[in-house]
Assembly symmetry: C2
Homo-oligomer: 340 residues x 2
């Protein structure tokens, strides 16, 4: 059906080598160029990337393994990543593993069979076991958003400065006189959970506050988890005067819980959230929150991967840390001034 180089060769009378050279950016004589282009149009020739991949031993495909496709934080990262990679002629195969470690491992194996040139992973399995095969195969692995301890030094990564983000948020609260600060974290064990907890503890220490176990809650990074966590916090005898919620879904859940309990923000309770996303920004427009630069994360990841692919000099792994921004709304009040 589809035309091949051989057909082109017959049509133009040129040799395979010349044609191959033409398609790979080499120079050919003007009249040959014209002949080739005419033949391409006539025979509707398109280069067969599969054959090319086999010969060059690179597929020009990047595998991306993520915990969840239906998550705007993740898709906006992927979107900006894919954009850049495709512009460099790399295709992206995305595998959604539904936050399931077994599926994640299968996805990595699936991608290795397909001989992807590189792997980008937002890790579900904190042990990193799923990535061993990829590292053995010698293909570059790039972690996004979550570091994997056991792979320190073996992979590159693009992350945000979680500790500082958390520190910054909580410091804001202590600066304004808050001493009872509730923290809503993701699932225990995850990299970002640990980091954001550390930042919180650092900020408390800085302010000379000793942490209260009851104020630290785990909400699984889901809206419902955030909702439950806040409900629990509100039931405490000594209620917190402020909340820091460490991802977007949980922030949404937290706000709903507060709304349902008729708690005013910031009069009754101060709140700092996480990840302003377009649509939701309009619903709770005045929230103070930590913003992650999703577009930059995607861009850095794509560029770093392209670097890794072009420099074969093996093991120069880089960890790119991006900074977050504290976007000030009106959901935090100072305890030092009385309410009007």
């Amino acid at each position: 059906m589809a035309a091949t180089l051989k057909d082109l060769s017959r049509e133009t009378g040129l040799g395979l080598a010349t044609l191959s050279k033409y398609f790979n950016g080499g120079t050919v004589r003007e009249k040959n160029r014209i002949a080739i282009e005419a033949a391409v149009k006539k025979l509707r020739y398109v280069p067969n990337e599969v054959a090319r991949s086999l010969k060059t031993q690179q597929s020009r495909v990047i595998g991306v393994v993520i915990p969840e496709l239906s998550n705007t934080f993740i898709t906006s990262i992927i979107s900006s990543m894919e954009d850049i990679l495709r512009r460099h002629d790399y295709a992206v195969i995305v595998c959604d593993c539904r936050s399931d470690a077994k599926r994640e491992k299968e996805a990595v194996e699936f991608l290795l069979h397909r001989r992807v040139d590189g792997l980008i992973n937002m890790a579900t399995d904190p042990s990193g076991a799923h990535l061993k095969a990829a590292l053995n195969a010698g293909i570059p692995v790039l972690l996004v958003d979550r570091l994997v301890e056991s792979l320190r030094g073996k992979t590159s990564a693009v992350i945000i400065d979680n500790i500082h983000a958390s520190l910054q948020a909580v410091r804001k609260l202590t600066d304004l006189g808050h001493r009872r600060i509730g923290l809503v974290l993701g699932s225990p064990g995850l990299y970002t959970t640990n980091q954001r907890l550390t930042g919180y503890l650092n900020a408390l220490q800085e302010a000379g506050i000793s942490p209260t176990e009851d104020y630290i809650r785990y909400g699984d990074y889901t809206m419902d988890g955030g909702y439950q966590a806040v409900q629990a916090l509100l039931k405490l005898k000594k209620r917190p005067s402020a909340l820091f919620v460490t991802n977007f879904e949980m922030t949404l859940g937290a706000m709903l819980a507060l709304q349902h309990q008729n708690i005013r923000v910031p009069e009754d309770l101060s709140v700092i959230g996480f990840d302003k996303l377009e649509l939701f920004g309009e619903i709770f427009p005045d929230l103070t929150l930590i913003r992650q630069p999703q577009l930059s994360i995607g861009r850095e990841a794509a560029n770093l991967m392209l670097d890794l692919l072009s420099s074969h000099d093996a093991v120069s792994h880089r960890i790119v840390t991006l900074t977050t921004e504290l976007s000030e709304g009106h959901s935090v009040r100072s305890l030092k001034e009385p309410l009007p």
Copy 2:
């Protein structure tokens, strides 16, 4: 680096054909099976899908071209699609064209170069020009969510019954005595826009109401568009008593506009929206709306594509139409009963 069949052949003393047969589900002698499995483990052999693709002339890759990756309606379809396809050993390359017809065409070409076995497209360009190359190449094309008129009979499709969905919603309103019904549509020219308008007009006719041009607004399927459209509707001398908003983002925008204008739902205005999505359901929990079965759309699309791929009997194109559901909340009131 990576082991090949030849290495396995050397290691086990078996021929290539035998090994190939083994990997493709054929039977080999017990002792050979054991030898092969040992060698696979020892040499860490993984089949090279690229070589396999070249030989078999199928890439086992499906290309998916969508207008926007950061859209939960779309990603939830893709998610369920990818799940099924991967289980059948098909990889999915997703190309986000940002609702740009030029990018869409480039994406299709990109995928054709990679010799995808099939193409799934939620079309941005209503003319369908971008798909010609794919049809010429003879690969199956499957449209999702949006039909392309010019391709009638040349592609399969999975859609919802837009006319009926719209009819059902608007009939609900007329049944309750509403006669001034505002309609917020997507971008002019899009398939779904036209269909949903038709359903609206049919319902009006059924109720003996002649349509008012002022009540029909285009909101581009964006939240902001919905917001603006509703604001314009509210400025009319004869305000509508009810609204039907035809996608999720616009429904959100509409609700915000109403909130900002202190319009009570349903006391002051009845509203029927579109596409309940998890997170938002909690924010406006009592909305009456049309629900699309995203998971089913994805599932049907995947299965239909698998069908198309296995049956080479060319031109048996099928259009699968799924039904929507009117999910009743409390955002619609009857004009036949006085307010309490």
